[in-house]
């Protein structure tokens, strides 16, 4: 099993930390992982993306041009990465702010109302965990208990009290992913 994922959106949406939690969860699952950011001089409001690879084998290139799954959180990222999904692959996006919807017919397209659901939960910071939950529903590559372990390893100790809230967000994501 090798899952090559791009997560792309605005800086400040938690794109990089979602990737980190996914990678750490992969380690807890006993997989090989890589996490390759592309943020450079970008800041809040700029674009940010991260390539995460979770595999049974040693990861070769951490930098890719084609992905099994694209997790898309803004229009620019959709424009940039829709064409980079491998035929038969998955595209998951949050329709909030999307004006030009994806058009490909040879990939599986799903939506998750991450921003809306986070707001319903009363905490905009769990947005990225809702997205992670939606991704894991589509691509069940990591068990929930290992996601929880991944959180424990990637969050500083003072934030460990928030793990149940984050796992709740993962569940909300899993329950609300929809075929586009």
């Amino acid at each position: 099993m090798t899952e090559e994922i791009i997560i792309a959106g605005f800086g400040g949406q938690g794109v990089l930390s979602m990737g980190k939690i996914l990678a750490y969860s992969g380690i807890m699952e006993g997989k090989e992982v890589s996490w390759m950011p592309s943020y450079g001089p970008e800041m809040r409001g700029g674009t940010a993306n991260v390539t995460v690879i979770v595999s049974d084998e040693r990861v070769c290139s951490p930098i890719l041009n084609a992905f099994d799954t694209a997790v898309i959180l803004n229009q620019q990222s959709l424009d940039k990465f829709e064409s980079k999904v491998k035929p038969g692959g998955y595209l998951l996006y949050d329709p909030n702010g999307i004006t030009k919807k994806p058009t490909r017919k040879d990939i599986h397209i799903y939506t998750i109302e991450g921003a809306q659901l986070a707001s319903d939960m009363g905490n905009s910071k769990v947005f990225n965990m809702i997205i992670l939950g939606a991704f894991l529903k589509l691509r069940p590559i990591i068990d929930d208990k290992n996601v929880e372990e991944g959180l424990r390893h990637s969050l500083p100790e003072r934030a460990h009290k928030l793990i149940p809230l984050n796992m709740e967000a993962v569940k909300v994501g899993k329950d609300n992913v929809k075929q586009a």
């Binding site: 992982v33 390759m36 990861v59």
Partner: protein, 361 residues
Amino acid sequence: MGELKLMKGNEALAEAAIRYGADAYFGYPITPQSEVIEYLSEQNPYERTGMVVLQAESELAAINMVYGAGASGKRVMTSSSSPGVCLKQEGLAYIAGAEIPCVFADVVRGGPGLGTIQPSQADYFQNTKGGGNGDYRNIVLAPASVQEMCDFVALGFELAFKYRMAACILSDGAIGQMMEKVVLPDQKPRMTDEEIKAKYPWAINGRKNGTQHRIITSLDLDSAKMEEHNIHLQKKYKEVEEKEVRYEMIDCDDAEYVFVAYGSSARIAQKSVQLGRAAGMKVGLLRPITLWPYPTKAIDALIKKGVKGFLSVELSCGQMIEDVRLACNGRVKAEHFGRVGGIIHTPEEVLEAMKKQIIGE
């Protein structure tokens, strides 16, 4: 087995310095390797092992602190990125002349000049051909994973002390910034002053009880002595060339065409090999681990086994290709491919270049 963690390459380098018993790190922050000094500052190494971490006022100060502390037989390290490493070249030439062991890391960004903060491999010439003055060499290790960013700290110190010279860990912004699984070693104790005195008779650490005075310098105005010193250095470099070449071959057994790539480009080219093999092409990868000394004999052996061409893949306009061509010596085709300016080539582009430039459609 040691501790398993998900870390950035830069963080793994810093943690390895603490765990492998480094005595001191002197540095000055610069993107894309600022995590090294950030991480060290956060970790309180002085409390963990007694290791000194100091942010110097400049790169020049940092490298000269390395010179001073290294002369006393301590395990000393510094790191920087491309323009910062330029500033350290004067100190590195002095370190070579004075035969001071030390480890320095260059987490390369695009150039020339201030260039860009994105990854690049355009410091190959600077580090393998000697960026400072005089006839000297530095051992150059090229990590291709976060694990190797950790492991090469130990290897760098081992070689630096074995040959009394600087060992460079030549990384790049991609390896420095990416996160991977890393198995960290158990904490090794720092050497005591008594151990250093017993092990390194050249080190200057206080003249007591009638011992001979020791001199550490790169200066000698007596030409005959200076020539003798240079001959001694060359003899040492020759020994390093004979004994310390390291490389990895991937799918080269039956390969007709071989990518030569190090660091992040080696990781990308490894994917190109997979893509090529899936399409029925007999391609392989030679990954130099030491860039100096260069695995010239490995290329020679591949040619003798029937390899018909090499593609040197680097994030530069073509630097390592010169060493590949020297090894080929005109016998087979050797060309360069690489994106620059902070753009990273994709596995597909690299494979396409092999088809176009070497195999021919």
